[in-house]
């Protein structure tokens, strides 16, 4: 697939995206710097386990749904989570592949991305419904929670149609414009929204893994004393 697009769309797909990406990266760097400036709790106790192995174990938690009761008992929810996040990764990937390496966006690759986008769109709808209707979720939800999931769901919907048209050999459509305008908005908005949770995710998991790995609670290989 050749990327024969107008100069205007090229500007949106490339220079604008790079500037926005730089903006996002700078804000994330600031976030991480602010966090790392804070004191990390020390561990001076004689360890029973391995803090490093605990951190790795904890980071890999996402791949072990049987590891937590909350995912073990709700495999359907977990499956949705996995599909949704794969779709996020593929969608972000496609915003790079489309302008930079359009030849990689073969019909097969595009179809796979499209299927994930479609599924994520449906999952998003279900998650919005859940947030509105399940009382315990509703009482903890802020407008940011509703906005973030709605935005993602619309993005997947737009991406789905865009991808369909791309497969038909139509690289420059109104949908493509909306798709990249939304991408631009995401890059500027996400550092301020709950969607930026993925930046904090490794920190939370690593610290949890270090504490409980060191105490011999996680991936037990316990030294006695």
């Amino acid at each position: 697939m050749e990327n024969t697009v107008s100069h205007a769309l090229y500007i949106l797909q490339e220079p604008v995206q790079y500037v926005c990406l730089l903006f996002m990266a700078s804000l994330y760097a600031m976030k991480i710097y602010q966090l790392m400036k804070k004191p990390g709790p020390p561990e001076k106790a004689e360890l029973k386990g391995d803090r490093y192995a605990g951190a790795v174990h904890s980071l890999a938690n996402v791949l072990r749904p049987w590891g937590m009761e909350s995912t073990r008992n709700h495999m359907y929810f977990y499956t949705e989570f996995v599909i949704f996040h794969i779709a996020v990764a593929l969608t972000i990937g496609s915003t790079f592949l489309i302008p930079l390496t359009p030849w990689l966006m073969t019909p097969l690759v595009s179809k796979v991305i499209m299927v994930f986008m479609g599924l994520a769109f449906l999952i998003g709808l279900r998650r919005i419904y859940r947030r509105f209707t399940v009382p315990e979720i509703r009482i903890i939800s802020s407008p940011d929670d509703y906005f973030a999931i709605t935005l993602m769901t619309v993005f997947f919907g737009v991406g789905f149609v865009t991808m369909y048209l791309w497969i038909q050999g139509r690289p420059e459509t109104g949908w493509m414009w909306i798709f990249f305008l939304m991408t631009t908005f995401f890059l500027l908005y996400v550092p301020f929204s709950k969607i930026s949770h993925y930046v904090l995710y490794p920190f939370g998991r690593v610290m949890y893994g270090q504490i409980f790995g060191g105490r011999g609670v996680l991936n037990r290989n316990v030294r006695g004393n």
């Binding site: 995912t71 315990e136 906005f147 609670v217 037990r220 004393n225």
Partner: protein
């Protein structure tokens, strides 16, 4: 006197004993969240934000996966405001108001709120009276939000500003003033230990058993929960019996023997460090090899995992009687007669601080299965065990007692399902809570610790 070190130590022993800090401290507790209290809380917030607390406050995605993890939500499902994320949000809203970028422009969009009297009151209700810091939700949170640390930080801020349940703070002030949290005087403690020793020597085959006080150079320095000399002296007797039977070289300090540290629950690090330092000093004075925690959940965690951090490391080893008992059994140093407990059905409650936050859950099972024939696990056990409801200082907050008993329902249901006639545990707060919930939910089971279990089954050579 040949040995100057011994001479110095002897001199120290004969100095008048000044337990506690001798200041008669009474924490200045305020009646409500006045503007001054709120202002003080604002000032304190930054000092409590270490990396874990800040990540836990910023990292919640409101997914609700913790909703089924908490014994409050399981036991009181009609009250949705006991959901872990909802409770933590009482603190998080204020944190976001201060630190979230979006909240600077659109606070309500991200659920941020300024610290008002109403928000602070909700925080007080939920984080003192609606969370035992058991961390079961943490273990079920995809983001690793650490409720133990987060809630302790919030409590520390409230406490320092003067808002803490009176009885809980009284317990800490008593520890501060008297050297132990039940103000057991030195003489009374020594007399109690001597009396327990006599009682122990009256048991068949135990004539030569001793409970050495202040024995320098003993291998183990055994620490106690003040409830033991005060209300449950038989648990000291049982522990001493097992240790003597196995030939363990141990001692108890006549001065600082209290292993509890309720400053873990009010979030005041200065007090936590002070209480820990007394035990540390006794370890140095008695020159023991191991600091040995008695059967006490938060006390064990405080000594084993927190004390070295508060004091910047320690030059000795720290363990617990739960682990020591298991080792003595594995090494064949004590012989047990399982038939002593025939007719009883046993289950074991894993204290959150010992298991989930402490990594000790197979050792108690080694002990139990060596001593009884009929042991049955509860549905949720080991690191997945539900809190009994008595953790986090809950037993020292009578104003929240109805909720505490209600929150124990899931544990009571699981005990009932085992058909146990004896509920074993290794924690004094758990003991009291389990006794209360067994009575309240009409479960006919005794509550007992591991030393009592072994003491009955032990075969004296």
């Amino acid at each position: 006197m040949a040995d100057p070190a011994e001479f110095k130590a002897k001199q120290e022993d004969t100095k008048p004993i000044k337990l506690g800090t001798q200041e008669g401290r009474k924490w200045p507790i305020k009646e409500g969240f006045t503007p001054e209290v709120l202002q003080k809380m604002e000032e304190l917030l930054p000092s409590k934000l270490n990396r874990i607390v800040a990540t836990s406050l910023a990292g919640c995605i409101h997914c609700g996966m913790c909703s089924e993890a908490c014994h409050y939500t399981q036991s009181i499902p009609e009250d949705k405001k006991l959901l872990p994320a909802y409770k933590a949000d009482r603190f998080r809203k204020w944190y976001k108001y201060r630190y979230d970028w979006m909240a600077k422009v659109f606070p309500s969009f991200v659920g941020a709120q300024p610290l008002t009297k109403e928000l602070a009151e909700e925080m007080y209700d939920k984080l003192w009276g609606g969370c035992t810091m058991c961390r079961r939700c943490t273990f079920n949170c995809p983001m690793g939000v650490d409720y133990g640390m987060l809630v302790r930080a919030a409590r520390g801020i409230m406490c320092e500003a003067g808002r803490i349940p009176q009885h809980l703070q009284d317990t800490i002030d008593t520890h501060y003033n008297a050297g132990n949290n039940m103000a057991v005087p030195h003489d009374e403690f020594v007399e109690t230990i001597e009396w327990i020793e006599e009682e122990l020597q009256d048991e068949d085959g135990c004539e030569n058993y001793t409970i050495p006080l202040d024995k320098r150079g003993a291998k183990y320095f055994l620490t106690l929960n003040p409830r033991e000399p005060k209300y449950y002296p038989l648990t000291i007797q049982a522990t001493a019996k097992v240790l003597n039977a196995a030939g363990v070289d141990f001692t108890i300090s006549s001065r600082y023997w209290d292993l509890t540290n309720y400053a873990m629950f009010n979030g005041i690090d200065k007090d936590a460090k002070l209480f820990a330092s007394w035990i540390f000093d006794e370890m140095k004075r008695l020159d023991c090899e191991y600091l040995l925690s008695g059967e006490c959940g938060h006390g064990y965690r405080g000594l084993r995992w927190e004390l070295p951090n508060w004091l910047g490391g320690v030059p000795f080893k720290i363990t617990s009687v739960m682990e020591l008992f298991a080792r003595l059994i594995q090494e064949g140093r004590i012989k047990l007669d399982k038939s002593a407990w025939d007719g009883d059905v046993f289950t074991y409650h894993d204290s959150c601080n010992i298991a989930r936050s402490g990594g000790v859950w197979e050792e108690p099972r080694t002990v139990i299965t060596a001593a009884v024939n009929d042991f049955r696990e509860m549905e949720h056990n080991r690191e997945n065990s539900f809190c009994c409801g008595g953790g986090g200082g809950a037993l020292a907050m009578p104003e929240f007692s109805p909720r505490r008993i209600a929150a124990g329902k899931i544990k009571a249901d699981e005990i009932r399902a085992t058909g146990a006639t004896v509920v074993l545990q290794s924690c004094h707060n758990c003991t009291d809570q389990l006794k209360e919930i067994c009575e309240h939910y009409k479960i006919h089971a005794k509550v007992m610790n591991l030393a009592e279990l072994l003491s009955e089954a032990i075969v004296i050579a």
